[in-house]
Point group: C2
Chain length 233, copies 2
DNA sequence: GGCGTTCCTTGATTCAGATCAACGAATAGA
DNA sequence: TCTATTCGTTGATCTGAATCAAGGAACGCC
């Protein structure tokens, strides 16, 4: 990689705030890679070989049971970090939901760089703590929420996260956005079947809470109502 | 606090590996505190005022919805770390399941100490990454596993974690142990009702997989079978 | 533009687990 | 020791979401 100072996620990824010389060193260690929609970057159970920053695109983080049941445990966006540092094996798979661009590091190389740069480890720690908070929130959803509440929560979360990703000028939640997930994937995030997801979306549409101009796009028409339905803690 | 070098969790808590002088400084910042079973140490939504190491006992980490539904998102044991460092608010409550002893720090004091001691932050990072792995595993359970699979998984997990906690000589999984959770709490960890938990335990007992000498103790009689039933990934 | 495929929706039916209900066993308190 | 209360078990019934089934809409490919 040449020049991290030109990187589009420069100010949001974990590299933000590194000293110029540190940034340069790190830049030498990484390489940019494009991945196609559907391509798996990291395999569950395999040796943890790489970690990466997401420069562009959306990917899913998933775990599965041997009989094929799959749970999506995370959805990552531009500027997010993927992979399992400081671990021999990856407990999950990472797969592109859209075409994506990554900034990839060998895991062991990244580990040792991080160990020598506390500022980077600190960023990584904060990020991991935030992810843990989100995981906890999702455990509440999976353990206790109804189908309607789950769908409402997902739509609000997507609206918020896709909003962050946009340019820093308008940084709020989006009222209309394109879902990076198909119905099956929404089900795999929410612990529901594809049919239940579809039905719940149809209900929300019939109630005028959202609109669905095409299969992938959602327009929130009554955010307050959607918030009520999500049973926000 | 006087002397961290005598602490029973000395070698397993995040303070392990600090230099003697660092350990001494940290020791000055913390204070030991006993908490009674049922007592809540941290409240969901409140300012994140304290963090702590668990010296002895078991505590639950939980989140809830305003109508009272509660999900237990973590169970912590001796040598584990509790609280939310680097955050203004605590996203969860922490409540003692048994009488417990903690080594408490003011959150802000701990934060600044940590920022100045990369070795400590590194330990915290590794611990947080492990917790995140566990949270992901649990999301798979909550999203996709059946009641039987959930119970089997919980029993194996408890067996393993209570085993670690014991003296380092016999460090394996225990075949007989006392549950730190009552039936309701097991339900709140597993996303099940108390009745379903009770029924599933009765079934496992009837099948000779486990024995239940009294309400709080479990004896695993056929670990291989229990592992099969847990649908291990 | 036609055709096959994939994705989504909707309807009918089933079922795992929730809810409702009652009772029994352990524990604590007087 | 007796009694109140909490906790756990078991049974009967209900229900939300899963499963089974069919058709329809969008998309990619020739």
């Amino acid at each position: 990689m040449k020049d991290c100072t030109q990187c589009v996620v420069r100010n949001r990824a974990i590299c933000a705030g590194l000293e110029p010389d540190e940034l340069d060193t790190l830049g030498q260690l990484g390489r940019r890679q494009r991945v196609k929609k559907g391509q798996t970057v990291v395999w569950e159970g395999d040796d943890s070989v790489v970690v990466a920053n997401v420069i562009e695109g959306v990917l899913k983080v998933s775990m599965s049971i041997s009989d094929g049941r799959e749970q999506i445990v995370g959805v990552v966006f531009a500027s997010d970090f993927i992979g399992r540092p400081f671990g021999q094996q990856s407990p999950y798979s990472v797969t592109a939901l859209t075409d994506a661009e990554l900034c990839i590091f060998s895991r062991s190389t990244f580990d040792s760089f991080a160990r020598q740069h506390p500022a980077l480890e600190h960023k990584l720690l904060r990020r991991t703590l935030n992810e843990l908070d989100r995981a906890h929130e999702w455990m509440l959803l999976l353990g206790k929420k109804t189908a309607t509440e789950r769908i409402a929560t997902l739509l609000l979360e997507m609206s918020a996260r896709l909003g962050e990703t946009g340019c820093s000028a308008e940084n709020g939640a989006l009222d209309a956005f394109e879902l990076p997930l198909d119905r099956q994937q929404m089900g795999d995030v929410l612990g529901l079947t594809i049919e239940t997801v579809s039905r719940q979306l149809s209900l929300l549409k019939a109630d005028g809470v959202i609109n669905l101009p095409d299969r992938r796009t959602v327009a929130i028409q009554n955010r307050a109502r959607l918030q009520d339905l999500s049973a926000a803690a």
